[in-house]
C-alpha cells in the first residue's frame, strides 16, 4: 500500500542544532485537560481582552515567541529568523504577529504540521551554519478555526462523532546552531524527515484523523527505513493531531505493514494527549496548536528532565480549504518528522 521511493526525504543532521528555549500558551479548556500543570501561560478566558478571536490568536503567538526567547536567555534583537505559520486564510495570525515582533520572518504553511515543518526548516538552515539561531512558532484558536472552517459558533451545530476540537494555544521553540568545539548538554534535533503529500480519498472534513493517518504512516515508514531505526529505539513516537480515531487507523495501517502494535507502548498522539475524556471533544485535540502545546509543555520537558532520551515527533497536516471541500475534493495530507534527542 505504501511505496517508499528514493528521494532524499530524510536528513541526518551533521551539526545538530540545539533547543535552547521553548514556551507554551494554552486556553482555559486546555488547562483543565491532561497537561494543565505543564503550560507556561494559561489564559483567563479565550479572548485575552482582544476584540476578535483572530487578534487573540496573534497575541498568543507573540506571547509564545517572546516567552521562548526569554527562556533562551536571548533578546528579540538577537534572533536571526522567525519561522511561523497558522491555519487562518493567508496565514494572517503569523503575519500580524511578525508585524509586532519585527523579526526577519519566513512564513510556512503546512496546516497542523507546522510545528514540525518549522523545526525541519530551522534545523536544516542552522545545521548548514548560515545563521546562529531561529524561533519556530505556530498556534491555533478554537473559535477562529470554527468560524473559518465549520459553522458560526452561534448556530450551536451538533458535532460529528469523528470531530476533533481545535486547540486554543500556541507553542514556540528557539533553536541554536551547534557551536564549534563546544560540548553542550541538552536537547538536539538529530534528524528530520520531510513528508510527501498523501491522499487516500477521504472527503469528510469532519474526519481529519482518517484523512491524515496515511500521511503519518508514509512518513513514519520512510523515516524508519532511511534512518535504519526501529520503534524501540525511541522513548516516544508521537504523531501530530490524528486524534483518538486517527490514532487507531495509524496503528492498524502500520500493523498491515508489519509493525507490530504490541511493540508500540511508546506511541501516542498529540490529539489524544490534551483533553480529558470528560471534556466532550469527541476524538480529541486538533489544530496547529495541538502538537505545538504538547511539544512545548510535555515532550520537551520530559526530554529536559532526562525521562525521554529520544523522541520521534511527527506532526500531521490536512491541506484542504473550505473551497476544495465545497468543490468535492478529497483531503491531501502531509506529515513531517523531527528526531529530538537528549544528550
Amino acid at each position: 500500500m505504501f511505496d517508499i521511493k528514493k528521494n532524499a526525504q530524510t536528513v541526518v543532521l551533521k551539526n545538530a542544532p540545539r533547543v535552547v528555549g521553548f514556551f507554551s500558551v494554552a486556553g482555559p479548556k486546555e488547562a483543565r485537560g491532561k497537561l494543565g500543570e505543564s503550560f507556561d501561560i494559561v489564559l483567563d478566558d479565550d479572548t485575552m481582552k482582544e476584540k476578535t478571536y483572530e487578534k487573540t490568536e496573534t497575541k498568543m503567538l507573540v506571547e509564545a515567541v517572546n516567552g521562548a526567547i526569554e527562556k533562551a536567555s536571548l533578546k528579540q534583537e538577537d534572533i536571526n529568523l522567525m519561522l511561523a505559520g497558522d491555519l487562518m486564510n493567508q496565514s494572517t495570525s503569523t503575519g500580524f504577529a511578525a508585524r509586532e515582533l519585527l523579526l526577519p520572518q519566513l512564513g510556512l504553511y503546512d496546516a497542523c504540521a507546522t510545528m514540525a515543518s518549522s523545526l525541519v526548516v530551522g534545523s536544516l538552515i542552522l545545521s548548514g551554519g548560515a545563521m546562529s539561531n531561529c524561533v519556530c512558532v505556530t498556534g491555533s484558536h478554537f473559535s477562529s478555526a470554527e468560524r473559518l472552517f465549520r459553522f458560526p459558533l452561534e448556530l450551536g451545530n451538533q458535532r460529528q462523532k469523528t470531530s476533533q476540537w481545535t486547540v486554543t494555544g500556541a507553542g514556540a521553540v528557539v533553536l541554536e546552531a551547534k557551536k564549534e568545539n563546544v560540548k553542550t548538554k541538552g536537547i538536539k534535533i538529530s534528524a528530520v524527515t520531510i513528508g510527501k503529500v498523501i491522499d487516500f480519498g477521504i472527503v469528510d472534513p469532519s474526519n481529519m484523523g482518517a484523512a491524515m493517518a496515511p500521511a503519518a504512516v508514509h512518513t513514519f515508514l520512510t523515516h524508519l527505513k532511511n534512518t535504519k531505526t526501529k520503534t524501540e529505539d525511541y522513548s516516544l513516537i508521537v504523531t501530530g493531531d490524528l486524534g483518538l480515531f486517527g490514532k487507531r487507523i495509524f496503528l492498524e495501517l502500520i500493523a498491515k505493514e508489519g509493525i507490530n502494535i504490541n511493540t508500540l507502548d511508546n506511541y501516542n498522539d498529540c490529539g489524544a494527549m490534551v483533553y480529558e475524556d470528560s471534556q466532550g471533544t469527541q476524538q480529541g485535540a486538533s489544530g496547529a496548536g495541538a502538537s505545538a502545546i504538547v511539544l512545548t509543555s510535555h515532550i520537551l520537558k520530559k526530554l529536559q528532565e532526562g525521562i525521554y532520551k529520544k523522541v520521534l515527533f511527527m506532526a500531521t497536516g490536512a491541506l484542504l480549504s473550505t473551497t476544495t471541500s465545497q468543490q468535492g475534493e478529497s483531503i491531501p495530507s502531509v506529515c513531517h518528522a523531527v528526531v529530538l534527542e537528549r544528550e
Copy 2:
C-alpha cells in the same frame, strides 16, 4: 523613517547554489503582454480544460515544476525537496500540486513574495549541504484570486485606479547545491536578505503597491547596508509586484533615504514588466505569479545570456486576508531579496 536594526537578515552564501533549470507557464492575456515571446508554455485559454480555476492553478504549478525538472535534465525521483506556496486559502493549489507530484514538500506562505522566499529557504538549505537539490515554485490565477479576494467576476465590478491585475501563470526554479571541486559556469544565488514584516497603515486592499512599497524599501536598505553594495553594482534591481503606482512610491521613499533616483536606470518592478499599457490592467501585474513568471522568463534568461551579470530580485507580499480587511486591519507586508549572479 526606516530604522535598520541588527538581526542577521542577510546571509552571504558560502557555497552558493546554482540555478540549473527554470520554467514559466503563462495565461493568454500575459502572452499578449511585454514578455509574450519569453514564456515556455502559453495557455490556449485560462482553464486548461479544468472545471474550476483552482484546479487550473494547480495544473499550472505541476506543469511549471515538471518543466523546470526536465530543463535541469533531472527526473522527478531525483528531486529532494519541493518548496511551494500560493495565494489560495490554506495554500491549496500547492498542496494539491504536491499530491500529484509526490515530491517531499514544505509549504510556504509569503503571499506574492513566495518566489523569493522559496529561493531563500532553498538556497539556505542547499548551501549547508543537507541536500543536493530542490525545486521552488509559485503561481497565481486571475480568476481564482478575484473570486477569493475581491468580487465574483460575474458582477462586473468596476476596478479602482490603484488596482493591479493578478497574473495567471506559474514559475518554477530548480536549484542545485554547489559541488565540491567542480567549477561550473552558470547562475548562482550568492546572497539572500530575509525581510521583516512592515506596516505603514494602508487599509485599502485595492492599493497593494502602497501597502508593499515600504517593506520593499526596508529590505532594500537592509540588503545594501549588510552587503556593502551600491545600486550600480547590480545590472538590474527588481521589486516583486509593486505595480506602476507602487514603483513610484518605492522610488520616492528611497530618494528620501538618500538613494538618488537618477542612478536607478537599472531599476524595474515585475508588476510593470508584464502587461502593455493598452491591456487595461490599471497599475499593472500582481499576484505570486507576477514575479514568478518575470523571473523564469525574462530575468533568468538574460542572466543565462550574459546580458545581466548580477540581479537583485526582491519579491513583495501583502500579508492580509479578506477577514483582516473586513475587521478594519491595515496591511502588513514583507519583501525577501535574492542575489542572482552570472559567473
